[in-house]
């Protein structure tokens, strides 16, 4: 999106989207005209609402439009114009436009897939400081903030390290610190764990859990391939060919085996087990995690 700083930029909250953190209303997007001519939109008529403080995962196979959705959400891409008046993306009730997108972007932090391609500074310290420099935070305050947030993500002892001396998981934790230090209200993780080893993945999952406990108001939107991660979230949005196939709590979504199988998505281990046991007359509904399940089965 291009900026037009000459126009006045005052927040205008639409009643229509009041009280929501994110609202997509009939959003369409295509990368080139031929897609449009064939009616194959990358993102086609997407509408959903995310409440403040919730943890939502968006799942779908490759090419289902997940990452495009994330880019639309951050204002990097602009939705196509439609005939519907309300059509658009609303962040905390305010519709994202040419004029206000850079201000709205400030409320959204984004962590990307490739840990190397988002490490901007020469050292961990410089990288966390990058966002603060852009926000014109005085240097004396930066030092304090860097200390605070690097400790939060467990990277305090690595502050002077260069990116080449860090593991993928560590780089990703730095990226999260660099994003959180700007105090966003919405955190978007665009396949943030997909390039990490199992250890790195666990670190990030633990970090997300900790962030939620520490700041319950933070809305987390995670775009992921990891079905197990999706199972931990409050709400799951399933995408296929740029359209929403299913939306609801993980239990509701993953109970629908057939639909998920049709779009080549996996079912979480826990859900599969529950289903298999059900066939043998063992009911484990009400059990939420592996350890309590093991306890129940061993009884």
């Amino acid at each position: 999106m291009k900026k037009n700083s000459k126009k006045k930029d005052v927040p205008v909250i639409d009643d229509f989207a009041k009280g929501t953190a994110v609202k997509f209303e009939h959003v369409f997007f295509y990368y080139d005209e031929s897609e449009k001519a064939n009616g194959n939109y990358t993102v086609s008529d997407i509408s959903f609402t995310i409440n403040p403080g919730s943890y939502v995962t968006i799942i779908g196979h490759n090419g289902s439009g997940k990452s495009t959705l994330a880019k639309l959400l951050c204002g990097i891409l602009e939705p196509c114009a439609t005939s519907v008046k309300e059509s658009g993306i609303y962040i905390f009730g305010e519709k994202m436009t040419y004029e206000n997108y850079s201000r709205i972007q400030h409320q959204i932090g984004m962590v990307f897939q490739n840990p190397d391609n988002q490490f901007i500074g020469a050292t961990v310290k410089d990288d966390i400081a990058f966002g603060l420099e852009n926000d014109c935070v005085p240097a004396s305050e930066m030092e304090k903030l860097i200390e605070e947030y690097s400790t939060k993500v467990g990277m305090h002892e690595f502050l002077d390290r260069e990116p080449s001396a860090l593991s993928g998981g560590q780089k990703q934790r730095v990226a999260i610190a660099g994003t959180l230090v700007r105090h966003p209200k919405i955190l978007v993780l665009d396949e943030a764990t997909s390039m990490l080893d199992p250890k790195g993945k666990r670190e990030i999952t633990r970090l997300i859990k900790m962030m939620r406990e520490e700041n319950p108001e933070l809305t987390i939107i995670s775009i992921t391939h990891d079905i197990e991660e999706a199972y931990q979230s409050d709400e799951v949005i399933v995408l296929n060919h740029g359209k929403i196939v299913k939306i609801g709590s993980p239990k509701e979504v993953f109970a629908d085996f057939e639909t998920l199988k049709n779009i080549k998505l996996d079912i979480p281990f826990f859900q599969r087990l529950q289903d298999e046991l059900q066939k043998y007359g063992i009911d484990i509904t009400g059990v939420d995690d592996i350890s309590s399940l093991v306890r129940l089965l061993c009884r």
């Binding site: 951050c74 990097i76 901007i120 020469a122 400081a129 852009n134 240097a139 260069e162 990116p163």
Partner: protein, 285 residues
């Protein structure tokens, strides 16, 4: 490639490292000027080059800069040195003293000219490797941005250039890793980078360059998005995390290098008119 010894930044805490990057860049410029000027007579030229050389050796010892790296770089230049020598010997000169190899006149002045060039290049290598080995990329970018401030007044986007430079330096190790990975991947597909004729080698390099470019472009696209998401706007004002405290020693060194800068120019201009070396010798007669 990762073991590229010459000029690689080594994070020590020596007085050379603590010296402000701006002073070091000014020192680089003034020493370069001093090295590339001629001072009228052959002995005086070599005396001045010798003094600079001694100064640089001391700086290298203080800054813990590796001599080996510079020597290795010189070793890589032997072909160029022979080429320069041949060029200077074969090109007819104005005259002066000469000696004969067979029937061919070899003028002393052409040998001196070659020595000048080799010595100048050697000193240049020393100067730049001291700068890069003792100045972190971030400090260097900061220093350059500061020194190029006057260009901002004529609307040159100096901050953007500095950011580009910082990012380029930041991505050198990443791209090196990419190259190594690609080399292994292509080698496993049967591409031989080490042996074969020149034509074959060039062909095999193509199989490396194209994927490298494509991955670098993809990286830069991702990086641009990541930067925008963290609020970067090249036209907007930004604060600086890394502040440099200017110390008295920085001022003193700055003055010293400014004197060298002015002094060397003055000496070169006057050296064209008077033979200072002869005047010096005459003092003892």
């Amino acid at each position: 490639m990762r073991n590229f010894a010459m000029g690689r930044y080594r994070p020590y805490n020596t007085p050379m490292h603590r010296l402000d990057a701006r002073v070091k860049i000014i020192a680089l410029v003034s020493l370069m000027v001093a090295v590339f000027l001629g001072y009228g007579s052959v002995p005086l030229n070599f005396i001045i080059y010798g003094l600079i050389f001694l100064g640089l050796v001391v700086a290298m010892i203080i800054g813990k800069v590796s001599f080996l790296g510079v020597l290795r770089a010189i070793k890589a230049m032997w072909f160029m040195m022979i080429f320069i020598l041949l060029f200077n010997v074969l090109i007819p000169t104005k005259g002066g003293d000469y000696f004969l190899i067979g029937d061919f006149k070899v003028y002393y002045s052409s040998i001196y000219n070659t020595l000048y060039i080799v010595f100048r290049l050697f000193l240049m290598l020393m100067i730049t490797s001291i700068l890069t080995a003792t100045t972190s990329p971030m400090d260097m970018t900061f220093g350059l941005e500061f020194l190029l401030t006057p260009l901002k007044w004529i609307k040159v986007p100096v901050s953007s250039f500095a950011m580009i430079l910082a990012l380029a330096l930041r991505f050198i190790p990443t791209l090196t890793e990419d190259t190594e990975r690609l080399m292994r991947a292509q080698a496993s597909r049967g591409v031989d980078f080490k042996e074969g004729k020149l034509k074959e080698k060039i062909k095999s390099i193509t199989s490396l360059i194209i994927p490298l470019f494509s991955s670098a472009l993809m990286r830069s696209g991702d990086l641009a998005i990541a930067m925008e998401c963290r609020g970067y706007d090249p036209k907007a004002k930004r604060t600086k995390f890394r502040r440099k405290n200017w110390r008295i020693s920085d001022t003193l060194w700055l003055l010293f290098f400014l004197v060298i800068f002015g002094g060397s120019i003055a000496l070169a201009v006057l050296g064209g008119k008077y033979d200072f070396f002869q005047m010096f010798l005459d003092l003892f007669k």
